[in-house]
Subunit: 161 residues, 2 copies
């Protein structure tokens, strides 16, 4: 942990807003997919974008809840019975709310501490949360190619929200 | 700017290492492309991956130098005469060194200040740097689809370096 008496280079509130800005963009990328292609389209043997979104749903909300409460959960990236865009968007919004709710309960000092998320992955709290965000950006970037290959213009990367 | 007397949620040193970890992965993604496809292959009318890498080269090193020195430069995303993977990797390594060199000259207090990068884009220092990193992750995600569509397995996203 790095102690200092000057300034945070980024505050926890700013980091949350940064992530929620990304989540808002990811939501618009989900919306940009035609419903059928969201669940069926893929390139090069990769997962469908709905499959990637389910991974993100398994990580974001549950991960922040676990960091806040200390209750270790198992990583679950599969959601049974989800086969419409509307269901996926609803889960996305619920996860965004869960993140807001539990984020407030993570004390600033916790960010420098070592944790083992989902009982499996070791890292600091900040690096774990950065992984959640980076992983979302990564898969959303993949989704941009899916959309472009279908002739659909994705939302601007820099518009958040 | 947020003053406090406790802990940084992430230090400037940690943020640099985080980015350089990403840069190392991006380097391996450049390497994973066959030379011809690096400069010619694209999907859905998008840029080639070398074109995207040139954008990243125009942003990363020059951006950090500008933040450190205060000398406003113009955004240049085009590099004439670069047509081999080796040249691109050399520019990538030079940029990684420039980032390390100038990063040290950015005082911690600067991260909360508002800047206008390349004389055009307003934001805090931290949000500007996060944009550089996020944009790299985004385009690299796109490159993963290019590779997969050619039957090439990209490096693991979570291995950095």
């Amino acid at each position: 942990m790095n102690t200092n008496t000057t300034a945070q280079i980024i505050s926890t509130t700013e980091l949350l807003a940064h992530w929620q800005g990304h989540r808002s963009l990811t939501r618009r990328v989900i919306e940009a997919f035609p419903e059928k292609e969201l669940f069926e389209y893929s390139i090069g043997g990769m997962r469908t974008f709905s499959g990637m979104v389910m991974e993100l749903l398994g990580i974001g909300g549950p991960g922040i809840k676990e960091i806040a409460t200390g209750n270790i959960g198992e990583l679950n990236e599969h959601f049974e019975g989800i086969n419409t865009k509307e269901q996926l968007l609803q889960l996305w919004d619920e996860a965004s709310n869960i993140i807001n709710t539990y984020w407030e309960q993570i004390p600033e000092e916790k960010f420098g501490e070592e944790i083992t998320i989902f009982g499996q992955y070791k890292g600091s709290t900040w690096s774990t949360i950065f992984y959640f965000i980076d992983n979302e950006i990564h898969h959303r970037g993949e989704a941009y190619v899916y959309l472009r290959s279908m002739g659909i213009t994705p939302p601007f990367f820099y518009e958040r929200p």
